[in-house]
Point group: D2
Chain length 316, copies 4
């Protein structure tokens, strides 16, 4: 029987050459489908919510900068989305300029703010007097110094820039950390979580109750008391007043795991607002380990025991 | 329609006149049925387990002495029992002797060990040089000094003793605490817990896992994280080696309460051995209060939410 | 210079032949000094407090029965005492009777209540219909059946009884646990704790604040958050009303250890009443292990750091 | 004696008209002294560390965006600094353009990234198709569109912009939150903390030990177990690998408070790296309240008690 393949659309932060495009390139199901470059995360997610795209690839966390604020805040406030996969892209940077420029002529540097922050150490050591002009992407920074639209002598860009634009590399590997990676997630409209793979991650955004000191403590205990590790803990201000936070969390495991389901119940009962972002396979495919006492069968056995007690059967 | 009343049998620590009989006297359903005096708690529980009795009244806790070891250890090790009710009896004591005895002639005092302990303060103040001969009950102490079977000049007994035996009261109200009470429980074979009354108590015996420091901490957290108060915490050695304990616990609430059921599940998953002794109305009929966040409907709502997430419905 | 040895007095629960005497026999410093047999724990401690004795040997815990209530309550309420050593005595029991008695003639058994409890299993299996007459010691039980002062046909006694009295052994090793031991402590008037040996124990009695649910949790955390294990946790009712407890605790380590001193400070701040019973060498001489992060030098370093901060020195 | 006033220098993010200048304007001691505009936070802090300035005013937290990453990372990694005061500035924004521009002509918006994020809601509603060109400050955005150095038709700027530049306001109050404030801190070289005022705040940066799950839990407990509230909890990646965080914390109270000093000791013992940023008066001058059991005298009394125990004095 012939399978009729539907044509799908994927939104991503363009133009071609961005790290986001490199992430999308890792998605086998996306090959041969339409890739739609957009200007910002909000637009990518709106594409999904309003049906223009089937999925959006967005940066969510960076090993240097931490959670990407715009992404986290969008996911916290836009209902109807779900993360279905994650992808890691190694990031490093070059300092480029128009051909003929010498590094001692550089006073102003064009760079996307996140890239700029990741080169903080190198810049402080080599160009301590520089000032910074922000660019809208790691490609736009280079274009801006070439066409004169950004008032800078050099730009921080992704290494691939030399393939597309006539720039001279003044310095390579200027990122402060050789192991820097950015984590991207693929987001669709709400859908049932795919079956567990044993190497899964569950993402949540949790608002803390206002009137309870120790509320964050209580949130973390929901995980620790069920043997669940957290790989991301990111505070974000709720925005209504200083001192009110929501927390973005990545927890090891899948909503189909008994211990995760139980933790989610505990969090739901305690938090005024929980956004479940999804359970999906980890990019690194590392199997999640947990103490035997939190295995599924332990939960099942306890429920059987309780049922027997209520029915009046003797306790075993 | 005429209800045919079955004749029932109740075992209790005799003889007539003990505090246990006073407790049984508080049970309306027991009136007009057979009351069977026995010699010790083990015999009372064996009567129930082997079908000679329908229920046994046994002392479980005392405001001065704490948990009654024999009772707690029997409940911990004999399967097939369930507590169905609790009853409080005010206890106080008199010092009695054969007629004509003067208090300055008293050197040895006959007393049941629990009664003896409750009069410790008075004895230390008034008869510091006395020694103690244990008697098997608060009635046997008095009989023993009268018939010479106990080598003592005076006995500690319940105030009612004067109605049955020819003794002289040397001192009244010699108990160290005017508010001393003993708590008794009525025990049957395993049966389904009666419906909650809103003023209920749940009794458990929990063994701690050996290999986990902080295990008691974790046990207590199972209650505190669900807004459940404990009114009894009694450690008892398991008996196989020094330093291993089981804990006898009375928790406010009923197994039909969502928060209690959830706590029981948590304890069952963590403990190598849990004995559920029963959920039953409190003797004092005090309504159990708990934070609104642990109400039944909060648990139900969280389960509905989780079910919707797994099904792929958007989170509310 | 010649050291003049002072003659010292040691009080213990007599008569000769008790397990308490066996404990005192383990104290090298006691040899050749006066041993003073007394009738009860209260008398032994009064001897110390009032200067008649230099020290008293008293039973504090039993591997079957748990803490010895009278001892724990006396230590909780009598100020001015300190534990300076602990000693373990293996306990087992025989069932004895007047020569010529057959076991099938035994209906009533004389036994000290603690001994009786330790033979509960054997008695339930072999003499289920027996009743119990309490005796004041493991020696008095045997004497009582011989001289007729106790109305019983058999007695539970310590194995050494056959050397002193004309009894016939009906059954040996009737204790429920072959490894049963009783722990004794040597108590003096308040004195500075001896230097740490590395294998020490600290004993405390702590009253919980009334108005705080989770108070026991908080007490236990004072130890767990400093890497200190507890080898004894014994609840005792305070005695004023049902549901109020004090806790008797043995913690691994010495008051001279920084982590123990810090835990004691935390407990003192939180508890309405703490009795420090002493830091003394463990009977088993087992070296106390603890996580490196709770070592003395870590505490000292932190204090140095804090002092520097307050002084305005840069943080290291 | 005549006091010779030294001339002092204050660095701040310029040019004149920024919110940072408004913060510096709140410092009475800075009036009449030299104000030195700089290009970025790193330069401001370098001025202080290298002696070109006596103090620097820098933005540290924003009610919409949360902690300012560059500031937090600089404070985490540069030794020798101390916060001596905090200042709040209300922030709101206008959308401006060259005279004659209509809002329907706006496709690209120049804005400082933090300002941009604070207008996210308004932009999504009114200009959903816009793209963003980052500017280096809230003043540079407007200058950039006027002089053509930024490729945008409109700019997000502070309301005061109209006083200095020939722009037309297209929309006012476009910030998503009317109560948005930015919190600034005044930073000097390391110095002893000023005396407590009763309304103080202590700022810390704490790295978590890698090998301990539940490490964040333990960090938070250091505060909760001493009755100390946290008003800021901000996670920042350490930057060496995904999943490793440091935490920026503002705690209510002063290092001279016993409970805060004790918490600092606990944190120092547990964390591989703690940066004490300072204890300083709160901008809102709100008196810090705490449970009576954490009062200074409770700590002092406990220390006296411990000292007496070690000396061999009876426990009170």
């Amino acid at each position: 029987m012939k399978r009729v393949t539907e044509r799908r659309t994927y939104s991503y932060l363009g133009p071609a050459g961005t790290f986001t495009e490199a992430a999308l390139d890792q998605v086998p199901e996306a090959r041969g489908h339409e890739w739609r470059p957009v200007h910002n995360v909000g637009e990518a997610l709106a594409d999904v919510l309003e049906g223009r795209s089937d999925a959006a690839m967005i940066a969510i966390e960076n090993s240097i900068e931490g959670g990407v604020s715009t992404t986290l805040d969008a996911l916290a406030t836009l209902p109807g989305l779900r993360i279905v996969g994650e992808y890691l892209v190694k990031v490093n940077f070059v300092l480029v300029a128009a051909p003929g420029t010498r590094i001692d002529q550089v006073q102003v540097i064009a760079a996307h703010p996140v890239a700029y922050a990741q080169c903080h150490g190198w810049l402080g050591a080599h160009l301590p007097q520089h000032s910074h002009v922000p660019a809208s992407s790691n490609v736009a920074s280079a274009i801006g110094i070439l066409d004169g639209s950004l008032p800078a002598e050099a730009a921080i860009a992704a290494p691939g820039i030399v393939a597309h634009h006539d720039v001279e590399v003044l310095a390579e590997q200027i990122g402060d950390n050789d192991n820097a990676v950015t984590r991207f997630v693929l987001v669709t409209r709400t859908t049932a979580p795919a079956a567990p793979t044993g190497a899964d991650k569950t993402s949540l955004i949790v608002e803390l109750p206002v009137d309870q000191p120790g509320a964050l403590l209580e949130l973390l205990e929901q995980f620790s008391t069920r043997g669940i590790n957290l790989s991301l803990i990111q505070s974000r201000p709720i925005g209504d007043e200083l001192g009110r936070y929501r927390f973005v969390l990545d927890a090891d495991g899948h909503i189909h795991d008994e211990r995760m389901a139980d933790a989610l119940l505990g969090i739901r009962r305690f938090s005024p607002r929980v956004v479940f972002l999804g359970s999906y396979p980890r990019a690194d495919r590392k199997i999640v380990h947990y103490p035997e006492r939190y295995a599924d069968e332990v939960f099942v056995e306890a429920r059987d025991w309780l049922r027997a007690l209520v029915a009046g059967a003797p306790d075993a």
